[in-house]
Subunit: 398 residues, 2 copies
């Protein structure tokens, strides 16, 4: 198959964490390379303010940067105004290539993709990644009205919708009244070349003969780091003889109403808890592999890639049974899913694990095995199944 992979919002080759690039870029880039490795031809298409150019970036994978609105950076809010210009510029640069499908990511590419798919008489598959309605429901802040109207039109008109997670799929059904027959879920993979268990041994800053937990993520209430700290406080009070330590990696929120360092002082955990800046993937893998347990105390999580990455390092995950984490962790085998985000419940489990190190070792092996299902090749094969459904639906609607 020859796939036009539209990502006008940000370049899939941009590193996550820089600018607006994030998990979406990781997803598009890895999916494209995995499709290429299976013998397909993928053309990633993104916007540039510089000169248009195209280059091959991997086996069967091309990157096309298309000049739209030359010589100036656009604000996020201006992007909808360039959809028509984008259709013209992309169709010109792709001239001569006969695609089998357009796969558009995020609503802006979706709107452009609708017109391109029409022009080329091919089906359109859409991955939303985030949607206005879901964002509104989570943050309470209204997105521009035209975005939600456009998304509704897009989701009604496209041949097929590919969600990243079951949570995203349920949100689209609920907020956009999407026909569930049109929806597929393709869970992301893990980069097993980076996240693997065979890492150097490192000395732990707080000593080696403890139960050592690691947290990695933004320090926001929704990510639940406070839950972990409260549980550690309870565990220390009820079992003072057990030595349990924790390292927290991530940027602090800086806001006064979520001050984890004060919480550590209140709970008198200063000697067993350390805070660190966020780490790049390779260093994070080293930290995960050297931890006993990676805690993912999020109160909500669409997938929980960090849980999959921790397991790929052979480290079990302690998490709440919420959202995508229920899929990412195999409860009792590759980690433990707590029924409620309750510090008492978390403390009881942490004490049990500190007292039974063999449970941790065994779950570590289970974690590595379980992470074997999170491959990008699997994601690519599942995406192909969705492309074929797009084609048969497109064919029957012509």
């Amino acid at each position: 198959m020859r796939v036009a992979m539209l990502s006008l919002h940000t370049s899939p080759m941009q590193q996550p964490g820089s600018g607006d690039a994030g998990g979406m870029n990781v997803y598009i880039q890895n999916l494209s390379f995995a499709l290429g490795a299976l013998g397909h031809e993928v053309h990633m298409i993104t916007r540039t303010a510089e000169e248009s150019h195209s280059l091959q970036v991997g086996e069967g994978v091309w990157m096309h940067e298309v000049q739209i609105a030359a010589n100036r950076d656009l604000e996020k809010e201006e992007l909808p105004q360039i959809i028509d210009a984008a259709v013209l510029a992309v169709s010109k640069q792709m001239q001569g290539l006969k695609f089998d499908i357009v796969h558009a990511h995020y609503w802006l590419s979706g709107m452009t993709g609708l017109q391109l798919a029409n022009l080329w008489s091919v089906p359109l598959a859409v991955s939303m990644h985030t949607s206005a309605a879901a964002k509104e429901a989570e943050s309470g802040i209204a997105e521009p009205g035209n975005r939600k109207v456009a998304e509704e039109h897009l989701l009604r008109t496209c041949s097929r919708i590919i969600a990243n997670t079951p949570v995203e799929a349920r949100q689209l059904e609920r907020f956009y009244d999407v026909d569930s027959k049109k929806l597929d879920v393709v869970l992301p993979g893990v980069n097993h070349r980076v996240f693997h268990p065979d890492q150097d041994k490192v000395r732990r800053p707080l000593g080696d003969d403890d139960l050592h937990l690691v947290y990695a993520g933004r320090m926001q209430r929704l990510k639940g780091a406070h839950l972990l700290l409260e549980a550690l406080g309870i565990a220390r009070r009820t079992q003072p003889s057990l030595r349990i330590t924790a390292s927290l990696f991530g940027s602090t929120s800086g806001s006064d109403d979520y001050d984890l360092k004060s919480l550590v002082n209140e709970l008198d955990l200063g000697d067993v808890v350390r805070f660190y800046d966020p780490l790049e993937p390779k260093k994070l893998a080293l930290v995960f592999a050297n931890a006993d347990i990676v805690a993912v105390p999020s109160l909500s999580e669409t997938f929980g890639l960090v849980a999959a990455e921790a397991q790929a390092c052979g480290t079990p995950v302690l998490a709440n049974a919420v959202g995508g984490l229920a899929y990412a962790v195999n409860d009792g085998k590759s980690g433990w899913l707590m029924s409620e985000p309750d510090p008492e419940i978390w403390a009881a489990k942490i004490i049990e694990l500190a007292q039974n190190p063999e449970m941790v070792t065994s779950a570590g092996h289970g974690a590595l095995e379980h992470s074997g299902s999170f491959t990008w090749e699997r994601a690519a094969v599942e995406t192909l199944a969705s492309y074929r459904l797009s084609q048969s639906e497109f064919g029957s609607s012509q």
Copy 2:
């Protein structure tokens, strides 16, 4: 990790179907390349009667052909006599390489691996593929006594056993009294570059407006092709208006007591059934992708790779709920598992599918999606989990 992958019996680079090479070679070769792609270093080691030599065959993968018993081909029966010579020759050729683990395939490599692992002070993981006791139980023909004694010793002494399928694991537990805690199962993957749905359309020899079933496998009673033919006979008698056709690919047994061509005549199916020679993988993928259903009527099957390959071509599988097929097929989603190898039950399902083509189409998409879990990357990650268990068990027994 640096892995010594021992395969003295046959070269993993040999094509399946030639000589003694078979599914075991496919497994070792694909596993080695997938481990290499994950950043590990794999040294496949095999025997040659020619000059010893080593060469890199892929990313992180080397092939070492070691001269043992120079200048003559050995009979299968003579191989046990060369174990000591093999240990010497291999350890000499590998001089300077520090391995983390030995992974030996088949009992001959296992016996050599025991000595090499001792010499190098590293753990030994063993994959049996087939065992004397399982072979005896299936065929009723006794294997040489020393083989079973050697296998018992090997399975008791090695750090870890990696079975290819749950069926193989249950056989080792039953016939060798293997501790199930020592046993892992790593299901094989499918080569998705060969087995994929995007194949040329081919004209069917018996017309295009029928329900077309394909069978691929040896024509032996255990493979159950007679069951498929009997079911087709019943379907035609009870629903003469339905047009159902079948193509059977595979070498005929040649034995008088399993004559499928006579059965076709008896059942008066001459106009809807065709026999063909076995096909190489690429052509088989073409045939699978152009079939409506791939029938795998085996009465027993350790895994049923053909079922996984068919699904990877987007074609649903009709099979008995026996052995590994219960894992390879997702009943009702990616194909259908019959509760008994009963031609009446098979005929009823085939009639239902001929009358409801949308069931077949939908299962085709389910088949492709399900086949996404059968990747060699997943197999490699699971194998690594087993290697790590080998290491921790080896460490605690030192």
